[in-house]
C-alpha cells in the first residue's frame, strides 16, 4: 500500500529531474547565412558541439549596438578566448550590413578568433529573428547634408547563449553592463 502511494510521487520526481530547462530548441532549424569573410554559415548546424554567445546588432547603430558588441568582446576576454565558445554578432539589417561592412566593423572592434559577424538574405534573416524573438522596426529617417536618406531602427536588446545541442539556454538584455559578469558566471557553472 505504501509503495502504491509513493510510486506516482517518485515517478513525477524522476520526470521532473530529467527535464532540462531551456528557452527554445533550435535543433530543427537551419538558416543559411554569410559571415564577414563571405563564407557561408549554416546556423545552428555549423556551431553544434560548441556554446554560442550571440548578440543582435546593426552597424549603423551608434549607441546601443556598440554596447552589445563591447559586452560580447568582454565575455570572450574574461573567458580567455576559449575554443568551445563561439561569439556571433548577428545583424538584423542585411540591406546595409553586407559582408564587407561587417568585416570593417570586426576590424574596428579588434575581434577575430572564434568571433564572427553574420548577415544574409533579408527573408532568411527575418525568419531567424522571428525564431529568436528579436523585433525591429524603422524608428525614423534623417537626410544628410549630401541629401542621402538614412534610416534608424528600434530593436530588441538581446544577448543569448546556445548550448552545444543547439538549445537556447540563456537570455539577457544585450547592452546591460552586468551582462558580461552574468554570462561568464553562467558559462563557468555549466561548461
Amino acid at each position: 500500500m505504501r509503495f502504491i502511494t509513493y510510486f506516482p510521487l517518485l515517478f513525477f520526481l524522476l520526470i521532473a529531474c530529467q527535464r532540462t530547462t531551456y528557452i527554445d530548441d533550435l535543433g530543427d532549424k537551419s538558416f543559411v547565412l554569410i559571415n564577414q569573410d563571405s563564407v557561408k554559415v549554416t546556423f545552428p548546424d555549423d556551431y553544434e558541439g560548441k556554446y554560442v554567445v550571440m548578440g543582435f546588432i546593426y552597424t549603423n547603430c551608434p549607441d546601443i549596438c556598440p554596447l552589445v558588441t563591447k559586452n560580447l568582446k568582454e565575455i570572450q576576454e574574461q573567458l580567455n578566448t576559449p575554443d568551445d565558445v563561439h561569439f556571433l554578432g548577428v545583424s538584423f539589417d542585411p540591406k546595409r550590413d553586407t559582408p564587407s561592412v561587417l568585416k570593417k566593423y570586426q576590424e574596428v572592434w579588434g575581434v577575430d578568433k572564434n568571433f564572427d559577424f553574420i548577415t544574409g538574405d533579408s527573408i532568411i534573416v527575418a525568419e531567424m529573428m522571428d525564431s529568436m524573438r528579436v523585433r525591429t522596426q524603422v524608428s525614423f529617417t534623417t537626410t544628410t547634408e549630401a541629401g542621402d536618406e538614412i534610416y534608424f531602427l528600434n530593436h530588441s536588446d538581446k544577448m543569448m547563449v546556445m548550448d552545444p545541442q543547439a538549445k537556447l539556454i540563456i537570455e539577457y538584455g544585450g547592452s546591460q553592463p552586468s551582462v558580461p559578469r552574468l554570462i561568464v558566471e553562467d558559462l563557468q557553472a555549466i561548461r
Partner: protein
C-alpha cells in the same frame, strides 16, 4: 515617560534629515566655475561612412539656464543630438532631440545608452588614439571648441 519618547523621536528625525542631506549630490558644491565646462569626453571608434558617437558631461556653472543647440565636427558634415531610450518589451529606440537645456548650477551627462552626439558617416576612420574636434554652440555661451580622444570606453573617473 511620554515626553522622553517624544523627545527621542524628534531627535532621531533631525539626525535622519541631516544624514540625508549629507548623502544627496550637491551640484552647487561641484559647479562654481561661472562657466560652461565640458568634462569626461570621448568618441567611440568608427569606420569611414558609418556611424559613431561622442559622449561628455556639460557643467553649467553660470547663473542662468543655457542650451546646447548645435554641434559640428571636423570628421563629418552631419552631427545630430540624439537620445537612446527603452520602449516596452525590451525594445531600444533612438530619437533626435535637437538640443539639450542645462539649468544653472547643474550638469547634463551624455553617455552610452542615453544622450549622445551622433557622428554620421565620418569622412575617414575614427580610430582609437585619434583626436576629434567639435564646435559646441550654446544659446548663451556661444561657440566652444572641444577636442576629444577616440577610445573604446569612457575615461576612468
Amino acid at each position: 515617560m511620554k515626553k522622553t519618547i517624544l523627545l527621542l523621536l524628534i531627535t532621531a528625525s533631525f539626525v535622519s534629515c541631516e544624514q540625508k542631506k549629507e548623502n544627496e549630490p550637491s551640484n552647487e558644491a561641484q559647479i562654481t566655475s561661472g562657466n560652461i565646462d565640458i568634462i569626461d569626453g570621448w568618441v567611440r571608434p568608427g569606420s569611414a561612412g558609418m556611424m559613431t558617437a561622442a559622449y561628455f558631461t556639460i557643467r553649467n556653472g553660470t547663473a542662468s539656464t543655457d542650451t546646447l543647440i548645435n554641434v559640428t565636427s571636423n570628421v563629418t558634415d552631419d552631427t545630430q543630438i540624439h537620445e537612446s531610450f527603452e520602449q516596452e518589451g525590451g525594445m531600444m529606440g533612438m530619437r533626435e532631440i535637437g538640443m539639450i537645456p542645462i539649468e544653472s548650477n547643474s550638469s547634463a551627462e551624455l553617455k552610452p545608452g542615453g544622450m549622445h552626439i551622433m557622428i554620421i558617416r565620418p569622412f575617414q576612420d575614427v580610430a582609437e588614439g585619434d583626436i576629434v574636434t567639435f564646435f559646441l554652440n550654446f544659446s548663451n555661451a556661444g561657440e566652444k571648441e572641444l577636442t576629444l580622444p577616440v577610445q573604446q570606453a569612457a575615461p576612468a573617473q
